[in-house]
Structures are given as C-alpha cells and as structure tokens.
C-alpha cells in the first residue's frame, strides 16, 4: 500500500509540475508578443549566452569531430570503406553532434547561470521589487533570455559545425593519411543544405528549452541558498534530458523516418 501511495504522490507531483510549466510557458509567450520589448537587455543576454559560450562549444566540437573521424576510419576499415570519413563526419556533425554537443554544453553553462541568477533574485525579493516598480518580471527577466538563447544557439551551432568538421579534417590529414584538398572537396560535395538547416532548427529549439528551464526553475526556487542550488541542478538536468528527447523527436520529424 505504501508503495502505491508513493507512486501516486509522484505521479500527482509530476502532473502538477507539468501544469505549472505549461502555465509558465504560456505566460512567457504572451510576454514575448506584447510591448515593451527590452532591446538593450536582449543584446546583453546575446553576449552572455552566445558569445561567452563560444570557447567551450568550439573546444568540445573540435574534439568530437576528431574522435568521430577516428572511429569512422576504424569502423570503415573493416569493410575497406575508410575513404568515407569526410562524408560521415560532416553528416554526423551537422545533423546530430553539432547541435547536441552545443546544446548540452550551453545547458550546463547557461541554464545553470540563469537559474542561479533568477533564483537568487527570487529568494532575496528582487523579483517582488520589480513588480512594485511597475515592471513585469516576465518581460524584464524571461523574455530577453529566451529571445537571446533562441537567436544565439543557431549561430553557435553553425560555428560548432565548422569547427567539428575542422577537427575531423585535422585528425584525418595529420594521422589518417588523407589529402587535405580531397577531404574538403568530399565534405563540401556531400553535405546538403538540409543537413545544415536541420541542425540549426534543432539549435533554436534547444535554445528555447535551455532558457525556459533556467527561468522556470529560477522562478520556482524557494528557501535560501539551498533552494537556489537545487534549482540550478534541476535546470541543468531537465534541460539536458529535454534536449536529448527533443533531438530524437526532431530527427524523426525532419528526416521522415
């Protein structure tokens, strides 16, 4: 009986969470389309979310591209198909790994930072203070972060794609015996516009997830430093899981499989 009660409580809790999140998303979207829109704040957030994520996204993309090239080479070798490295690297990076790696890295960096910042504002009554100063916290805090993340992520992923392909190129030409010009020609000839665009669409969705999770958990944090810590963890974990789930969903929609 106790087990059943526990399961029941967990299910009810989950449903309540989904309800709260849906309401929060609705309020956010409503705030996005009504004035005032704070352009200055969006610019600041593009800098913080997009620009400052460049090093971490670039580095991880580079190593991922390199490792991918190695594995494809080794796997292809068994069938004498090792020449396929450039084609599979560009496909894997632009369609899947570029957006997913960038999404997960930005989730760790940005969702955590947003949740911590907004959570601290919540528990120190700064969000209440916004209301008393006739400023809508959804518009002032959530909308700029959401817009900035949705705009920045595709750009970040575009850069991650290039650096990831470059990582594969470096490994292939330096240690796998590929000729640089042929590697590049095969890459460019093989990649289609749809491969790249599918990754950029994913990136925008991941940006939405990251900012929404950061803001949602920040707004719902309570009880001092510990509550803010819990909100930060929840933001990173939930945005990472949602990114991977959304990635699967988008892949199956975008490629009609």
């Amino acid at each position: 009986m106790n087990i059943l009660a526990g399961i029941g409580r967990a299910v009810l809790g989950l449903l309540a969470d989904i309800g709260r999140l849906t309401a929060f998303t609705g309020r956010t979207l409503a705030a996005c389309v009504s004035p005032p829109i704070y352009g200055r704040l969006i610019a600041i957030q593009v800098l913080r979310i997009g620009y400052f994520s460049l090093p971490v996204v670039g580095l991880t993309a580079f190593f991922t591209g390199g490792a991918l090239a190695l594995q494809i080479y080794l796997g292809g070798n068994r069938y004498g198909a090792e020449a396929i490295v450039p084609q599979i690297v560009v496909l894997g990076i632009t369609r899947e790994l570029g957006p997913v790696i960038a999404g997960l890295m930005v989730a760790g960096r940005v969702a955590a930072a947003i949740a911590a910042e907004i959570g601290t504002m919540k528990v120190s009554e700064q969000i209440d203070a916004l209301t008393t100063l006739a400023t809508n916290p959804m518009k002032y805090l959530v909308v700029p972060r959401l817009v900035a993340a949705v705009l920045s992520m595709p750009i970040l992923v575009g850069i991650a794609d290039s650096i990831g392909v470059f990582g594969g190129y470096v490994v292939s030409t330096q240690s796998l015996g590929f000729t640089g010009s042929i590697y590049l020609k095969n890459t460019v000839d093989f990649a289609t516009r749809q491969d790249i665009n599918s990754g950029l669409i994913k990136a925008a969705v991941f940006g939405f997830i990251i900012a929404l999770m950061g803001c949602y958990h920040g707004f719902n944090s309570k009880g001092g430093a510990q509550g803010v810590g819990a909100a930060t963890t929840a933001a990173v974990v939930s945005s990472s899981i949602l990114i991977l789930a959304a990635n699967y969903l988008l892949t199956s929609i975008l490629f009609h499989t």
Partner: protein
C-alpha cells in the same frame, strides 16, 4: 478623513496553513500606520497582498476606493505607480549600480530618459544622506545600513502617494536603526505620503507611526493612536510591547 487603503476580511492560506484569517484594516489618507506582531505572523504576506504580489483567497482590498484585489498585469500598472516599497532585505538589484537601482522605477516603469533619471536618483540619494560617489558602487559593496538607505531612496524616487516599509530597522545596530527611523519620518513628511510599516521593533514603531495596529493569529486584535499603545488594556499588546515571555501569547517553536 478618507481611507487611502482598506482591507476587508482578507484571508490567505498556504496549503493547510492559515496565515491571514480575516484582516480588517483601514489606513487614512496622510497617516502613518505601523502594524506590529511577532515573526511569522503574516505581516509580510499582508503587505504583499496589498501590492498584488500575492492574491488573497478571500476578502477585498481597496486603494483610493478602487477594488484592486484581483487587478493584475497591465491593468494594475496605474495602481502600482502609487506605491513605493522598502523591502525587509532591501532587495536591491545586484546587477545594477546604486543609481540605477534608485532610478529603476523612473526608467523602466515610467519611461524617463536615463540622464534625467540619474539626476533624480542622485538627488534622492542625497536625501537619505548618501553622497554621489555611492551612486556608482554596486549594492554588494554596501553595508546593511547603507543598503537600507538605498532601498529607501528607491522607494521614494517617484514621489509615491503610498510607501510601505517592511521591517525597516531589522538587522541594524540601534544607532543605524534610529538613523533610518529619522530618515523615514523626514522623507515621508517631504513627499506627504501615506505609509504602512510592519515591524517588531517597538522603538521604531513609536517613532515612525501615528497609529498602531497589532496582528495576532491572522487577525488585527487591536488598533489605535500611537499615544494609546501603553494604555490599550489589551493583554496581548501589553505582553508584546514589553517583550515578556509570560503572557497570553504562546510562542510556537515551529513556524
């Protein structure tokens, strides 16, 4: 006398816990009311209900005779512009320098140009005894007393008709507490505002109020002019203002 703010039968609970259990309270235009009561008795919840940060479960809140109980969003903006609020922990925005904190309501809420709002901010900081150098510091660089002063400057920046003070002296040393009390009295006189303060500091309550009300178990159990507080004939009030452990008020150990 006309009522500036009126609370009629306001109730608020969190889950099973009843915090406000039918608050009736009237604040006359131009008066300074202090609500006293123990920690965790719902003083902050009461103020936040009037401000629309929390929504009461039952009851009515009138501001200038207008029912604002369920007024939210853009429709509430004209009402919010009547209010200034000093929060318990000052609640300064730590991402902004001091002057932008003070000017915030002018720039974001009222669309004043930044340069002009900055002049007003520096002028208001002077009113609470802070020089222009402080304007460029970040709130984290200030002591608790200075933060309260900045919070006060922010509360009065737009010359509000109504100012709320949530425990303005809590956590300050006695001298700084008195400085804040003096500032409250002088600034309020300056802008001619109606004020509602909540505190458990009796010295502060006597100094900044002309009327006092006491909240206990979610209701107002006594109210009257400040001069009458020592002759209330109410055992709860007597116990509270003299700070006795013995009396009708039993302290719950768990809030």
């Amino acid at each position: 006398m006309t009522a500036k703010i009126q609370l009629i039968g306001v109730k608020k609970r969190f889950g099973p816990k009843v915090v406000l259990d039918g608050i009736d309270l009237t604040i006359e235009k131009g008066s300074s009311l202090v609500v006293i009561g123990g920690s965790g008795t719902g003083k902050s919840v009461m103020i936040k209900s009037v401000l629309g940060i929390l929504t009461p479960d039952e009851g009515t809140i009138l501001v200038d005779g207008q029912d604002v109980t369920h007024l939210r969003g853009a429709a509430r903006d004209p009402v919010m512009k009547k209010f200034g609020m000093l929060f318990q922990g000052a609640a300064l925005f730590d991402s902004l320098p001091v002057w932008e904190n003070v000017a915030f309501g002018l720039i974001q809420g009222r669309g004043m140009a930044r340069a002009k709002a900055k002049d007003v901010a520096i002028q208001k900081l002077a009113k609470v005894g802070l020089s222009e150098d402080v304007a460029y510091l970040s709130p984290a660089e200030l002591s608790g007393g200075m933060q309260k002063r900045v919070g006060l400057a922010r509360a009065i920046a737009a010359d509000p008709e109504i100012i709320f003070f949530d425990e303005p002296t809590t956590g300050l040393d006695p001298i700084m507490a008195d400085v804040i009390n003096e500032l409250i009295v002088s600034t309020v006189k300056d802008v001619g505002a109606t004020t509602l303060s909540i505190t458990h500091d009796m010295a502060s309550a006597r100094k900044i109020s002309d009327h006092i009300a006491m909240i206990y178990q979610g209701r107002i159990i006594w109210s009257g002019p400040t001069s009458q507080i020592d002759h209330s004939g109410n055992p709860y009030v007597d116990q509270f203002i003299h700070g006795r452990a013995e009396g009708p008020i039993k302290m719950a150990v768990k809030a």
